[in-house]
C-alpha cells in the first residue's frame, strides 16, 4: 500500500511540476499615444480630466503628462459650459459643473490643433446595499458588492475599492446583459493578500453608460486576462479624434465594512 501511495504522489508531482514560469523580455517598441481619462459624476466635484501619453512597457508606471490643452465640459441638457483649469501637469479640474442623472455631457479637448470629443450620459442611479466579505479562500479575502439591479433598463457598472482610505489598483466591470433584474452579489477580484483582518473596505459601485463601459470592459480584459485573448487590442475609446481613453458621466454609490 505504502509503495502505491508513494508512486501516486510521485506521478502527481511529475504533472504538477512539469510546468514552469519565467520572466522574459521580448522587445516591445513603444509608440507614445495620447491618453485622455475623464469623468463627471453625481457626487460633489471638482471632476478630473487627466491627459497623458502611453509609457514604455518596461519603464515604471509613470505616464508622461500632457500640459497646455484646452479642456471643456458641457452639460448639454442644462446647457452649462465649464472650462477646466490645469491644476497640476496633465490634471485638469472642473469649477462649476455638477453631475445630474439623465443629463448628457460633452467633453472637448483641444491640443496641438486637434480636437477630441466625447459624449456621455449619467444613467439612473443604482445604490449599493452593503459590502460584505468573502472568506472562502484563505489569505484572499474578497469584498462582495450587494445590490439590486433594476429590471427596467440596461445597466453597466464598474467597481472600485479602497483599503483603509487607499485606492486599490484593481478595477472590475459588470453589466446586466444576462442579469437584468437580479439581486447581485458580486465578489470583487483583487490581488491575493490585499485585505487583512481589521481593514476598512470601501467599495464604489459606479453606474456607467454603454460607451464608457465598453472601454472599461475591454481594458479590464487586456489588463487582467490578456493571456487568454486570441487577438488583444487597445480598448475601444468613446472619445473621437484619435486617442486612447474614455469619458464617463456616471453615478457613484459607496458602502464600507470592516474585515472581521
Amino acid at each position: 500500500m505504502k509503495n502505491i501511495r508513494a508512486f501516486l504522489i510521485l506521478v502527481s508531482l511529475i504533472i504538477a511540476f512539469s510546468s514552469c514560469t519565467k520572466t522574459i523580455t521580448p522587445p516591445l517598441n513603444n509608440t507614445p499615444q495620447l491618453v485622455i481619462e475623464g469623468a463627471v459624476s453625481d457626487t460633489t466635484g471638482p471632476y478630473h480630466v487627466n491627459i497623458s501619453k502611453t509609457a514604455d512597457f518596461y519603464s515604471d508606471n509613470v505616464y508622461p503628462t500632457v500640459s497646455g490643452a484646452t479642456v471643456v465640459i458641457t452639460d448639454m441638457t442644462a446647457n452649462v459650459t465649464d472650462v477646466l483649469t490645469e491644476a497640476s501637469a496633465g490634471d485638469y479640474l472642473t469649477h462649476t459643473i455638477t453631475g445630474t442623472p439623465g443629463h448628457a455631457y460633452q467633453l472637448k479637448v483641444m491640443l496641438d490643433g486637434k480636437t477630441y470629443t466625447a459624449m456621455s450620459t449619467i444613467p439612473k442611479p443604482v445604490s449599493l446595499d452593503s459590502v460584505t466579505v468573502d472568506f472562502s479562500v484563505n489569505n484572499n479575502f474578497r469584498p462582495v458588492a450587494n445590490y439590486q439591479d433594476p429590471a427596467d433598463q440596461k445597466n453597466y457598472y464598474k467597481y472600485s475599492m479602497k483599503r483603509n482610505g487607499v485606492h486599490v489598483h484593481h478595477f472590475q466591470t459588470f453589466d446586466d446583459r444576462l442579469s437584468g433584474g437580479r439581486y447581485i452579489r458580486d465578489k470583487l477580484d483583487c490581488d491575493t493578500g490585499t485585505f487583512h483582518h481589521g481593514d476598512l473596505v470601501k467599495v464604489d459601485l459606479v453606474g456607467l453608460d454603454a460607451g464608457a463601459f465598453n472601454f472599461l470592459k475591454e481594458a479590464e480584459a487586456v489588463a487582467y486576462d490578456n493571456a487568454n485573448l486570441a487577438a488583444p487590442a487597445t480598448p475601444t475609446s468613446n472619445i473621437t479624434g484619435g486617442c486612447i481613453g474614455y469619458f464617463s458621466a456616471q453615478t457613484v454609490s459607496s458602502k464600507t465594512t470592516v474585515v472581521k
Binding site: V11, I14, H170, K217, N226, N228, T234, T236
Partner: protein, 780 residues
C-alpha cells in the same frame, strides 16, 4: 428530387470521359475482399495488380473491397499491403471471378518483398497515391515517442509535412495554414467535433481501437466535404473474427483494455476498447489543497461489431463515447464529450458495383459550471448531427471507376443555455436552437488514361439550407439590428448551393518518379467560434446563417515524387496555394456566450496560404523514419484590422521541421526519437501602457506583428519486448518527452510585477519540461 436530377446531370457531364472506356475484348472482373489472415480485419488500401498487365492496379476501398476488370487470360495476381507478406495467385480468367484474399502480417522488421514485375505502377506507394494524401496505420506509430506514453495517431500526424500542432497543451492542429475547425475529423464516418482530451494533451482516439488514418491535405475526393483544410478519415478496428483476444496497457496517466473476438460462428466479430485516466485518484492524496480539490479525468469507449449476413451483405455498428471532466478548486468545472454512432450496410450488387449505406449520429456538448455559496451556474452548448450517406463504387473496367453518392446531415446546434440557481447573479437563458440541413451529391471518375497518366475528377454539389424555427436578424455594419423576422419550423430561411469541382492528375515519369497536380474547392458550413486563446473547449459551433456565409477554399497543389532503393525510400516535394473566402473574425470585446446576436460581433474577410513541403521517408530496414520540412505562409485580410491589409494568421509558421527515427536494435529493443522545430506563431504584444483607474492597461499595435520564440523539442523512446510467444506478447515502453527541457511558450502574460507594483513584466509559462513515462502493454 433535386438530388436525383443533379446526379443525372453530373453523370451526363462525365460521359465524355467514360466513352473512352469502350471495351474491345471479353473482359471479366476479379473482385473480393482483402483481409488480415490472422484477425479477419479488412485491409483498406491493400492493392491488387497482375504481373502480366503493366499499369493495371486497384486498391481496396475503405471496406477492403476490390474489383478490377481485365481481359480473359492467364495471370499472376499480386496482392500487397505495407507490413504484410505479399501474396500471389495464379488465375485463369474465363469468367467473373470472386476471390477473397487473406494476407499474413510480416513479423519482425519491415522488408520490402521484391517481385520481379514489369509493372511500373504497383499501387500503394507514393508514386501512385493521389496527391496530398498520407496514410498511417497504428502499426506505423507504435514506436514514435509521445507525451506520457499514450500513443496517439492524431499527435503523430502532426509530425508530417504541412500539419502543425497549435503548441504544447493546445487543442487542434493546422493543416496548410488552416484553422483548427477546418479539419474534418471522421471516426467511422461520424464527425468528431472536438478531438481533444484534457485540454488538448491527448486526442480522443484510443490507438488500440484504431486501424488507420487517411489524411487528405489537397485533392479531396468528391465524397468528402464540409471542411476547408483537410480530412482525417479514421477507421476503427473491426475486431478479430478468428479468435478471442485482449490487449491493453497500463501507463502513468491512463490504462487501456481492448477485448475482441468472433461472433455468430466467425461470421461476425466485435471489439470493445476502453480507456480511463486516473490522475484524479491520486490528486485526492496530495497534501496541497489546490491539487487536492482539483479533479481531472477523461474516459473513452470504442465499440464495434460487424456481421457478414451473406456473401454480398455485411453490416457494421460502431460507436464512440468519451467524456472529460475538469474541476479546479471546487468552484469552476468543465465537462465535455463526444458521442458517435454509425450503422453501415455494405452491399455488393455484382462484381463491379459496391454500395455502402451509412446512418450516423454524432453529438458534442460541453458544460461549464461555476459554483459558490450563492452562485450556481451551468452554461452549456451542443451540436448534434443526424446523417445519412449513400455511396456507390462502380468498377467499370480496369481503367475506369466511378464513385457516386449523396449525403444529408441535419444539424441541430444549441449555441448556449444557462441554468442558474435562485440566488445567482445571472438569469437562466436559453438561446434559440439553430437548425440546418447540409446536403451534397457527388460524382467522381477515376480514369487510368494510359500506363502513366491517371486522372481523377469529379464534382460535388453542396447545399446548406438554413431552417426555421427561429428569429433571424439582419445587422448594419456597426452591429445594430436592422430587422428581425420569425420563420416557423421547417421553413427555409436561406439556401447556399455551391459547386465544388475536384481534380487530381497523376503522371508517372518513369519507374521511380511521378508528378501530380490537383485543384479542389471545399465549402464549410459549420463554424467554430472562439475568441479565446485558452485551450478551453468552451466554444460555440455556428452553422452558416442568413448572415454568416459558407467559407470557401480553392487550392492548387503540385508535387514531384520519387522512390529510391525499390521503394525503400520515398521522397516528395509539394507546393500549394490556397485562397480562402468568408473567413470569420471577431470585433473587439465580442460576446460569444449567451449572445442571441452573436453574428453582430463577427467580422468577415479573406485569407491565403501557400507553401512548400518536402518529405523523405525510409520505410524498411533496421532504421526507419522520416524527415519533413515545410516552408509556408498563411495570411488573412479582415476589413478594419491592420488597415485592411494582409497580416499573418495566428497559425502561420514559416519553418517547420520534424525528424522521426526508429531503430530496431535487436528482437527485444527498439529505440526511437523525434525532433521538432518550428518558427514561433504570430502574436500581438503591447506597444505601451496607460493608466485606467490607477491600474496599468496595455495598448497594442498591429495584430500578429510579433512572434513567439521558436518551438523545439526532442523526445526519446525505447520499447522492450519482454515476451513474445504465440499466446502472450508483452512490452515495456519508456519515453521522455522534451528531453533537454526546452521552455516552449504555453502562455505569455503581461502583468504588474508582484515584487514591484510600480512595474510591469512579461511572464511565460511552459508545460512539459522533460516528462518521463513508462507504459506496460500486453496482448493475449
Amino acid at each position: 428530387m433535386l438530388k436525383i436530377n443533379c446526379l443525372i446531370i453530373l453523370s451526363a457531364l462525365l460521359l465524355p470521359g467514360l466513352s473512352l472506356a469502350q471495351q474491345t475484348k471479353n473482359h471479366y472482373s476479379v473482385s473480393g475482399t482483402i483481409k488480415d489472415k490472422a484477425t479477419g480485419e479488412t485491409l483498406p488500401g491493400a492493392t491488387v495488380s497482375f504481373l502480366q498487365l503493366s499499369g493495371v492496379g486497384v486498391s481496396a476501398n475503405s471496406y477492403g473491397f476490390y474489383s478490377v476488370s481485365i481481359p480473359e487470360g492467364s495471370y499472376t495476381l499480386v496482392a500487397t499491403y505495407t507490413g504484410y507478406r505479399t501474396d500471389t495467385l495464379h488465375i485463369n480468367l474465363k469468367g467473373n471471378l470472386q476471390h477473397n484474399i487473406n494476407l499474413e502480417a510480416a513479423s519482425g522488421q519491415l522488408k520490402e518483398v521484391k517481385i520481379s514485375s514489369s509493372s511500373s505502377s504497383r499501387s500503394g506507394n507514393v508514386l501512385t497515391a493521389p496527391p496530398g494524401v498520407q496514410k498511417l496505420t497504428v502499426n506505423d506509430i507504435k514506436n514514435v515517442p509521445v507525451l506520457l506514453g499514450e500513443k496517439d495517431i492524431l499527435k503523430t500526424i502532426q509530425l508530417l509535412p504541412g500539419i502543425v500542432a497549435a503548441g504544447d497543451g493546445k487543442a487542434g492542429f493546422s493543416v496548410r495554414g488552416g484553422d483548427a475547425d477546418q479539419n474534418l475529423i471522421l471516426l467511422d464516418e461520424a464527425t468528431v467535433y472536438n478531438a481533444s482530451h484534457l485540454l488538448g494533451f491527448f486526442s480522443v482516439f484510443n490507438s488500440d481501437a484504431i486501424k488507420d488514418i487517411q489524411i487528405y491535405k489537397a485533392g479531396m475526393p468528391a465524397d468528402y466535404g464540409g471542411r476547408l483544410s483537410s480530412v482525417e478519415d479514421i477507421h476503427m478496428n473491426d475486431g478479430n473474427n478468428q479468435k478471442f483476444g485482449a490487449n491493453g496497457g497500463i501507463g502513468l496517466i491512463a490504462s487501456r483494455l481492448t477485448v475482441e473476438g468472433p461472433l455468430f460462428d466467425h461470421k461476425g466479430s466485435f471489439t470493445v476498447s476502453g480507456r480511463r485516466t486516473y490522475v484524479d485518484l491520486f490528486t485526492g492524496l496530495a497534501s496541497d489543497t489546490t491539487i487536492k480539490k482539483t479533479k481531472i479525468y477523461f474516459y473513452d469507449i470504442n465499440l464495434k461489431g460487424n456481421y457478414q449476413v451473406d456473401k454480398n451483405d455485411r453490416v457494421f455498428l460502431s460507436g464512440y463515447f468519451g467524456k472529460d471532466y475538469l474541476q479546479l478548486k471546487q468552484d469552476n468545472g468543465i465537462d465535455y464529450g463526444n458521442s458517435t454512432g454509425t450503422l453501415r450496410w455494405n452491399h455488393i450488387f455484382n462484381n463491379s458495383l459496391f454500395s455502402n449505406t451509412s446512418l450516423i449520429y454524432n453529438n458534442f456538448n460541453y458544460n461549464t459550471h461555476f459554483q459558490s455559496s450563492t452562485n450556481n451556474i451551468t452554461v452549456g452548448s451542443a451540436i448534434t448531427d443526424y446523417h445519412l450517406k449513400q455511396d456507390f463504387n462502380y468498377y467499370l473496367n480496369s481503367t475506369n471507376k466511378l464513385d457516386i453518392g449523396l449525403e444529408s446531415i441535419y444539424h441541430v446546434t444549441q449555441p448556449g443555455a444557462a441554468t442558474t440557481s435562485q440566488t445567482s447573479n445571472y438569469n437562466s437563458v436559453v438561446l434559440q436552437k439553430k437548425y440546418s440541413l447540409e446536403s451534397a451529391v457527388y460524382v467522381s471518375h477515376e480514369w487510368t488514361a494510359t500506363d502513366k497518366l491517371k486522372l481523377t475528377y469529379g464534382l460535388r454539389i453542396s447545399d446548406l439550407a438554413v431552417l426555421g424555427p427561429g428569429n433571424f436578424y439582419t445587422y448594419d455594419p456597426n452591429g445594430n439590428t436592422l430587422s428581425n423576422t420569425y420563420y416557423s419550423g421547417g421553413k427555409v430561411v436561406k439556401s447556399y448551393i455551391n459547386p465544388e469541382p475536384r481534380i487530381a492528375l497523376n503522371y508517372q515519369l518513369d519507374d521511380s518518379s511521378a508528378v501530380k497536380l490537383s485543384y479542389d474547392r471545399n465549402v464549410q458550413n459549420i463554424h467554430l467560434l472562439n475568441n479565446s486563446s485558452a485551450t478551453s473547449p468552451t466554444n460555440v459551433y455556428l452553422p452558416s446563417t442568413n448572415v454568416v456565409k459558407p467559407e470557401i477554399a480553392d487550392q492548387v497543389s503540385m508535387g514531384y515524387y520519387r522512390t529510391f532503393h525499390q521503394n525503400g525510400i520515398e521522397f516528395s516535394s509539394e507546393i500549394y496555394y490556397k485562397s480562402l473566402q468568408n473567413q470569420i473574425d471577431y470585433k473587439n470585446g465580442a460576446n460569444l456566450v449567451g449572445n442571441e446576436n452573436i453574428e453582430a460581433d463577427l467580422l468577415f474577410g479573406t485569407g491565403r496560404a501557400y507553401g512548400w513541403e518536402t518529405y523523405l521517408k525510409k520505410k524498411y530496414g533496421k532504421l526507419t523514419g522520416w524527415v519533413s520540412y515545410t516552408l509556408s505562409k498563411a495570411e488573412r485580410k479582415i476589413p478594419g484590422i491592420n488597415n485592411s491589409t494582409y497580416y499573418p494568421s495566428s497559425q502561420d509558421q514559416t519553418h517547420h521541421l520534424s525528424i522521426v527515427g526508429m531503430y530496431q536494435a535487436s528482437k527485444k529493443w527498439t529505440f526511437s526519437a523525434d525532433f521538432v522545430y518550428s518558427t514561433g506563431t504570430p502574436v500581438t504584444y503591447p506597444n505601451g501602457k496607460l493608466s485606467v483607474d490607477g491600474s496599468p492597461v496595455y495598448a497594442y499595435g498591429d495584430r500578429n506583428s510579433q512572434r513567439l520564440s521558436a518551438y523545439n523539442r526532442l523526445d526519446l523512446g525505447a520499447t522492450l519486448y519482454v515476451k513474445k510467444t504465440r499466446k502472450i506478447e508483452s512490452s515495456w515502453n519508456f519515453s521522455i518527452y522534451n528531453v533537454y527541457g526546452q521552455s516552449n511558450p504555453y502562455t505569455i502574460i503581461f502583468q504588474t510585477d508582484p515584487n514591484n507594483m510600480n512595474k510591469t513584466q512579461v511572464q511565460q509559462t511552459s508545460l512539459f519540461k522533460m516528462v518521463p513515462s513508462v507504459t506496460y502493454n500486453f496482448k493475449f
